[in-house]
Amino acid sequence: MDDSGPEHDSVPRRICQLSVHMLSISGAGISMVTKTGNRGVVCATDDVSARIEDLQFTLGEGPCVDAAQFGAPVMVPDLRTPDDIVVDRWPAFLEGAGAAGVRAVFAFPLRIGAINVGVLDAYRSVPGPLRDGQLRAALLAADAAALALLDIDPTGDLFSDNADARSTYQLQVHQATGIVQVQLEIPTEEAFLMLRARAFALGRPLVDVATDVVARRLRFSVEDQ
């Protein structure tokens, strides 16, 4: 994969490169789910990663497909001894990935509740699970990638849990997202962006603005936008 992509995919690319470094994996890739349900490869660190992404699009099966569908990570530490259900679900993927030299696959959905932006895929040419610290890094990388694909630059150290990243996990933020979605009659991901943009414009923490929205102290109206 060349490095001459448009500016907006430089952050996903950096996330993939950092993931390879931090997770002791052989390669990583990010694919995106568009609003129309189509998918496309955003970036991949090497040919095998690109091949894994392509395989799954072509076959319509594999860990990345399941991760996107079920909204949970799918981890297969050894493709040669997968459980029976995996063998049943991804027969063609297992064959193709095995031929490409892949032994372990880890797929993380890029998701914020109902907002589904894509998947971060990692592979390794030797088998073995992710260790605890690596799992944490992978989840944080997926969080950062989700924000990056939503066009929010996750500034600062991608793998540190700064205050703003943490506020993504506060329930008021998601309640407020649902409220703003109705107030502006826009899709969920846009409502989430609007909320963040408002917090940024006001110079206030996201969770504080969200709490005001939930408490009905702050309304979004179409005229304001």
Partner: protein, 257 residues
């Protein structure tokens, strides 16, 4: 076992025993079926409030990113959520998850220095005592069940055991739930539960705004609709957020008795 542990003869004790039996029958029924994790966890915090007579209860899970995330709470008041969420930094739940053993403070006013920020927030929300029991599987602690009382309140031994039993059911509920595609690993199950809760929050926001109700009312309507129509709470929530189901039809759902 001390004499105080013997099932008593008072009417109150018998009522509670009856309630306890009913609770576990309902939970057992849920666990053998295809259930929704977040719904089960809400049943558990509700059971905790009913059985143990606490003022409020919440359930936090290790989000595997270094935070504790709220997945269930006995009410939807922002004040309670804030007190629960504060414990990502410091509080009885964080101590409980780190140590894997129960943590409790009988009177927060007399013991404010242990977690000053948490204690102040809890007291301003009207709580005076707090207890946390771990959600444990073998050597791993995946979260904690958190209970609050409005008055200084040492937790009796029996109640502590019962709280731990409820926490154990929660652990089983989270980790035993078979995902539809494969026997899943702990991380997959935890992340699924956490994301389901986020979808439900988004759906509550949609319902609250569309129908002009508060978060508690929106959530109760969502649960009631899911139950009456034999639907999974998180799948229904997803449809609400995506606009695939009319929010007003969820709100007008009647209670089935």
């Amino acid at each position: 076992m001390s004499s105080g542990d013997v099932a008593g003869g008072s009417a109150q004790d018998r009522d509670r025993e009856q309630l306890l039996a009913e609770t576990f029958v309902v939970l057992a029924d849920t666990l053998v079926d295809d259930y929704d994790v977040v719904d089960l966890l809400h049943q558990l915090v509700d059971a905790c409030v009913n059985l143990l007579g606490v003022t409020a209860a919440g359930l936090l899970l290790d989000d595997q990113r270094g935070n504790l995330a709220v997945v269930a709470s006995s009410n939807e008041e922002t004040r309670l959520l804030e007190v629960l969420q504060l414990q990502s930094d410091a509080g009885p739940c964080l101590d409980c998850v780190r140590s894997g053993v129960p943590v409790s403070v009988d009177d927060l006013e007399a013991d404010q220095n242990r977690w000053p920020v948490f204690a102040a927030a809890a007291m301003s929300a009207g709580f005076r005592s707090v207890a946390a029991v771990p959600l444990r599987l073998r050597s791993e602690t995946i979260g904690a069940l958190n209970m609050f009382h409005g008055a200084p309140h040492p937790v009796p031994l029996n109640d502590r055991r019962l709280a731990q039993a409820l926490a154990d059911v929660a652990t089983i509920g989270i980790l035993q739930r078979r995902s539809t595609h494969r026997s899943a690993m702990m991380a997959e199950q935890l992340q699924h539960a956490l994301n389901s809760r986020v979808v439900i929050e988004q759906a509550k926001g949609v319902l609250a705004e569309r129908n002009g109700v508060d978060m508690d009312t929106a959530f109760n309507a969502l649960r009631r609709y899911a139950r009456n129509h034999n639907r999974k709470l998180s799948e229904l929530a997803m449809e609400v957020v995506r606009g695939e189901i009319d929010p007003s039809s969820v709100q007008t759902e009647r209670r089935v008795t």
